[in-house]
């Protein structure tokens, strides 16, 4: 969602231009590696029609290069299903995968009451042993599901396949069907073996397919409320979803379901009754939105609740969509109520942060979403990139028809979805869509990150450890945003680092209050006194000016 035109954004003048820097970044690589990486590093150039240079992405990571990426299991079980509290998520595999994805992403959830199911604090695993690798693990998986059912009585069990499961040929879907029949609860499997795809992105897609196939549409009960929406791609890290939920409540919008921060199984089952899907993280969840539109006729809108301006804009988009003066009035009332506090903090923080420079290498949407927050306090984004995004997240959905589908992507199932004969109900007619376009709102549209960046800024996909070190050497930015694995290497270089996956220990950063929290955090990081004390006095002035003379 380009908030600014290319002219507004202007160009970036760097001491070492992006093209020259690019040569430095790949200079040490073997020729073939350099050639490949060169296609994933571009200098931004936004044309008046918002087209941008092509950037290669969603391709294999070069072995040995040390990238930020994780695996398909992490994207499926960790990211998309991880925040679900009342689905018992059972990892079928050796113990590690379940262990590492146990509570480590800071997804918050708030069960309705003390009796409500909450399995998020638990880690469930079949803890596969060599015996199962040799003789097959289906028997143990069935037994584990039975034991999980006997002890926990969940309404649904999700099974997540890890690498060896696919290799030895365990059929998690067949086991799921059998146990579903036997137990009378919903049991479904995900073939999210870690080696599938080229990054966690494949896992998002697999999770989307599974949730859509096995849960969405199971409950046709019409929820109360005039303006019914789903929030997609919001995972409630550090309480973001709570902040957004508060705003929805204040403007009188009914949140039918959330995929999947602070979510519940029943909400997923009921989500097809909403009249609008809002997408936060385009990369991880656009598949569900597309499928819900095809099957049930629910349109989707890309929104962004990171940043006060972006939040206000997103709320106004919702009001425009529903075309209701009362809703519009409420949105304006909430925006007017929240903005003064935000503005006061912005002015204060800007006085200490303006002119400082940031780099963001993270995720599939946050490297885009957080740029506005930095800009608003006068900070410059000199380089940004995603860890696992596709070209449409960089260049906008306009490139979708021309995307090459390579062998790695073809391995991930693309569900063929058709309109539901009984339940397909287009929420807007042609006139409605035309009205929205007139008001500047395009449905099913995402402009991508690059259109919101200055000309001359570096855009780097799937950045490596080596490239990160080089960038630091060349530009010495004032702050870098990435993930936990990058955090301390950056900080050991004397540069503060903010995690934008887990938010370190912070949040919420969404909504109006979130903007305030984020700016305070950035202010703390870039202006912390400690960065001045890295050198001891005797290291800064090693030569003695004079000697004490002992009488």
């Amino acid at each position: 969602m380009a908030t600014l035109t290319p002219e507004d954004l202007g160009s970036l003048v760097l001491d070492i231009g992006a093209d020259e820097a690019k040569k430095e970044l790949v200079g040490k690589y073997p020729t073939k590696v350099a050639r490949k990486r060169a296609k994933q590093i571009v200098a931004n150039q936004v044309e008046p029609d918002l087209t941008v240079p092509e950037i290669q992405s969603n391709v294999r990571t070069v072995p040995g290069l040390i990238s930020q990426r994780g695996c398909t299991y992490a994207g499926c079980k960790g990211v998309v299903l991880g925040p679900t509290r009342d689905i018992l998520n059972l990892t079928h595999g050796p113990i590690g995968c379940g262990f590492y994805s146990w509570l480590t992403r800071r997804n918050q959830t708030r069960p309705k009451g003390p009796e409500d199911h909450n399995f998020m604090t638990y880690c469930f695993s079949t803890d596969m042993q060599d015996e199962q690798i040799i003789f097959g693990g289906e028997k143990k998986l069935k037994q584990a599901i039975q034991e999980a059912y006997d002890i926990f009585k969940p309404k649904a069990i999700g099974i997540f396949a890890t690498c060896p499961v696919g290799l030895i040929g365990d059929d998690v879907h067949a086991v799921a069907r059998e146990m579903k029949e036997k137990l009378g609860i919903n049991v479904f499997g995900f073939s999210c073996e870690g080696y599938k795809g080229v990054s966690q992105s494949a896992g998002h897609h697999i999770a989307n397919n599974g949730v859509f196939t096995h849960i969405v549409g199971l409950d046709d009960t019409e929820p109360a409320g005039e303006f019914k929406i789903n929030m997609l791609g919001e995972y409630n890290i550090g309480g973001d979803a709570f902040e957004i939920e508060r705003l929805f409540e204040d403007i009188g919008v009914t949140l039918v379901s959330s995929f999947s921060g602070n979510s519940s199984y029943d909400q997923f089952a009921n989500s097809h009754t909403a009249d609008l899907n809002l997408i936060m993280c385009h990369r991880s969840i656009n598949y569900v939105a597309e499928m819900m539109e095809k099957k049930f006729g629910i349109p989707w809108l890309k929104v962004n609740f990171i940043g006060a301006g972006a939040t206000a804009k997103s709320l106004r988009k919702i009001a425009t969509y529903f075309e209701n003066p009362e809703l519009t009035a409420k949105v304006e009332e909430v925006v007017a109520r929240e903005l003064p506090a935000v503005e006061a903090v912005r002015e204060e923080v800007k006085s200490r942060c303006a002119g400082k420079r940031a780099m963001l290498f993270v995720g599939g949407s946050r490297a885009h979403h957080y740029q506005e927050l930095f800009r608003e306090i006068g900070m410059e984004i000199i380089a940004a990139g995603y860890e696992f995004a596709h070209r449409d997240d960089y260049e906008g959905r306009r490139v979708l028809p021309n995307l090459k589908v390579d062998a790695d992507s073809r391995n991930i199932e693309e569900l063929q979805v058709e309109a539901d004969p009984a339940r397909f109900r287009p929420r807007l007619d042609a006139a409605g869509i035309a009205r929205l376009e007139q008001e500047g709102i395009k449905l099913s549209e995402y402009q991508g990150m690059m259109a919101d960046m200055k000309n001359g800024a570096l855009v780097i996909d799937d950045i490596s450890q080596y490239e990160t070190e080089k960038l630091i050497e060349i530009y010495r930015p004032d702050i870098i945003c990435a993930g936990i694995k990058e955090k301390f290497a950056v900080q050991k270089s004397g540069i503060p680092m903010k995690q934008l996956h887990s938010y370190d220990s912070g949040g919420p950063y969404a909504g109006f209050q979130g903007a305030i929290n984020f700016w305070r955090e950035i202010d703390r990081l870039v202006n912390s006194k400690v960065w001045k004390y890295l050198q001891a006095p005797w290291q800064e002035h090693p030569e003695l000016a004079a000697k004490y003379v002992w009488e």
């Binding site: 002890i151 060896p164 694995k485």
Partner: protein, 458 residues
Amino acid sequence: MLLRHTPKEVHERTALTVNPAKTCQPIGAMYAALGIHRCLPHSHGSQGCYAYHRSTLTRHYKEPVMAATSAFTEGASVFGGQANLLQAISNIFTVYEPEVIAVHTTCLSETIGDDIPQIVAKARDEGKIPSGRYVIHANTPSYVGSHVTGFASMVKGMVDYLAASNGHKENRINLIPGYVEPCDMEEIKRLAGELGVPVIMFPDTSNVLNGPQTGKFHIYPDGGTKVEELIAAGSSIGTVALGPLASGPAARALDTKCKVPCEILNLPIGLRSTDTFIDTLRRIAGVTVPESINIERGRLVDVITDMHQYFYHRKVALAGDPDQLVALTEFLVDLDMWPIHIVTGTPGKKFEKRIKEITREVPHPVNVRATGDLFLLHQWLKSEPVDLLLGNTYMKYIARDEDIPLVRFGFPILDRIGHSYFPTVGYRGGLRLLEKILDTLLDRQDRDAPEESFELVM
């Protein structure tokens, strides 16, 4: 409640693990490899493995954890990972210039049966390994053992690939510190230094995973055992291996390969295990224990006598790794505490037997389980509560639900610092453990005491 679904009644489970008290082999192998100077650990598997291991170690240490991966995709999983590993070796030596690449396998590469020595030999033939550089490896399928046995395998790999006898016996001792914290390794080395015993210690993660902030990042920090030392370990007069599970295999391999005899001891946690460690070093090296160590020991004994009333007959539940738990349980029994629920996730029958021996004289039934999990421990606690929990950060959910104080000990500790800076081995480490236990118990007493019996002097 955070663990609201944990019932008091124990259903025996045969297939389902809930809230594990172990993790998988490769992370232990990665940690061990970080204890070699200028070594880049390499995970031969899909990207998720190394991403998870690096993340978990980073959260535990708050330090950079560098490692590489073969980045398997579906093709590699079907046709074998040779091409990926060859490419990785070549890229790593070109771009990151380590002295050693330490490859560990994963469940993925083990299931498809990749033969690492064959691939490494091919890399050597093709000139992908520069002269004077090394590629070592350990087989660490995730479906066998635990992070502890993965650590042990990589330490053994250091011996298998590098240790060599020069035909003489050099007057020094090999120390294998076990799966302990960087500061513990430093403390073990310091104690040997106090005794005046020249040592080669491996692995050594001190100054790798507890390094200083200097404003300059070095992918290979100053710490770590040097390759020359690993080679020379084959010519030492003896090996003292701490922790049978984590250090035993390497010590025995050195004996077989280079005829370096070994003594395999408990981890030196607590009074008597530290006594055994010091006494063994003294005996093998033929040195006299200096007064400075007698003073350290005496201080630990002094605090035990001074504060014994607060330990006496207090019930404790513990979860962690076998080598640690054996030494720790013995220490608690020596304090006249009652360790009554003890769980490790790491498989192995010996563990239960050892713990039963150590707790034989505890006048209270003792629950012990290898291949157990924190869910089972929690269930035991609901039937028989304790005064104190000892274990990793995941125990804090039990601590909060059951309102029992927790002393963090073991791996991983994700929510506090200290474990990588202040040792718990040796006499000084024993003192620190006592301080932590006392602080925790006495804070609780201060919180709960009726006003009339709120104590000033304790």
